[in-house]
């Protein structure tokens, strides 16, 4: 789900049902969100929508993303890193690291 910029490098493996988003698409502040909720309905006026903010996502070369992994806005995944299935990546992943869980954290053990 790309509002502005998602970059995927070379030889990247995107598993089944992977989701990558560079925006939250809705405001957090309650009143602005209520207005946004009305604006996106069938009778709403899209011009009333809150301005979208985006934070680019970078998936570097040779990264593997497991099935149903989710990468959220602003995240850079370093080269040759592995994201385990079902992980929700909210922070940068250093090159060569394996992360898993929600929020995703480094997993010990290395080769998976």
């Amino acid at each position: 789900m790309c509002h502005e910029h998602i970059r995927v490098g070379r030889r990247v493996l995107l598993g089944f049902d992977v989701m990558i988003a560079d925006s939250s698409f809705h405001p957090l502040e309650p009143e602005a969100r209520r207005q946004d909720a009305r604006a996106i309905t069938p009778t709403g006026d899209r011009r009333d929508r809150a301005p979208l903010t985006a934070d680019p996502v970078v998936i570097s070369d040779d990264v593997r993303l497991g099935a149903r992994a989710i990468v959220l806005k602003g995240v850079t995944i370093g080269a040759s890193a592995t994201v385990l299935p079902g992980a929700v990546v909210t922070r940068d992943v250093p090159p060569g690291t394996t992360v898993g869980g929600n929020p995703a954290t480094p997993v010990s053990g290395g080769d998976r």
Binding site: M19, L28, R38, I40, G44, I70, P103
Partner: protein, 183 residues
């Protein structure tokens, strides 16, 4: 509303006990493919029920939504009752289940439920991000935000921002400053 939707491609009328509020959009009667409720569904005004959303209700299931709700390819599975307030934004592949062990759609009469669970009550202006699972019985307070891929099986207080697995409260929308979510 009874009968069909003008734009529908699926050759089945809406179930008789489905009420679609004024100005609401339902992508297709296909949303009711696995629907056997005897208690019905009431969708409020100006809801947007978009592609892939499924209302999987057993005979005793019921769903009520407020006004200005958006379902972006979500699934509601009910053997009890799911009540959703106005301004709800329910994301892609979100599952709201008021019972942890829904029987398969073709289960014989008398075996439609495996028991357990309880009502799901979602307040006003609740935003549930993609791929989250909400398991009843549970209550989500007004203005709350649920992050991506969270499993919600504990009560969520009003305004709470909940994320992670296991789910935990990571903030409050009443303290949000920049107006942009981190969810």
């Amino acid at each position: 509303m009874t009968g069909g939707l003008q734009h529908d491609w699926f050759p089945r009328p809406l179930p008789d006990n489905v009420e679609l509020g004024a100005d609401s959009w339902l992508y297709s009667s296909y949303a009711f493919l696995h629907y056997r409720s005897e208690r019905g569904v009431r969708i409020g005004r100006s809801n947007g029920v978009y592609d892939g959303t499924m209302f999987v209700l057993g005979p005793s299931g019921r769903l009520v939504t407020g006004d200005f709700c958006t379902f972006n390819g979500s699934v509601v599975s009910s053997d009890h009752e799911v009540v959703i307030g106005s301004h709800a934004m329910i994301g892609y592949r979100v599952l709201i289940a008021d019972t942890p062990f829904t029987a398969p759609p073709g289960a014989p009469v008398g075996q439609e439920t495996h028991g357990g669970g309880g009502d799901v009550v979602i307040g006003d202006n609740v935003w549930i991000n993609n791929l989250t699972v909400v398991v009843g019985p549970v209550t989500i307070g007004d203005d709350a935000v649920i992050g991506t891929g969270t499993v919600v099986d504990q009560p969520v207080p009003p305004g709470a921002i909940v994320a992670g697995q296991p789910a935990r409260i990571v903030g409050s929308v009443y303290e949000a400053e920049d107006g942009a979510g981190d969810a």
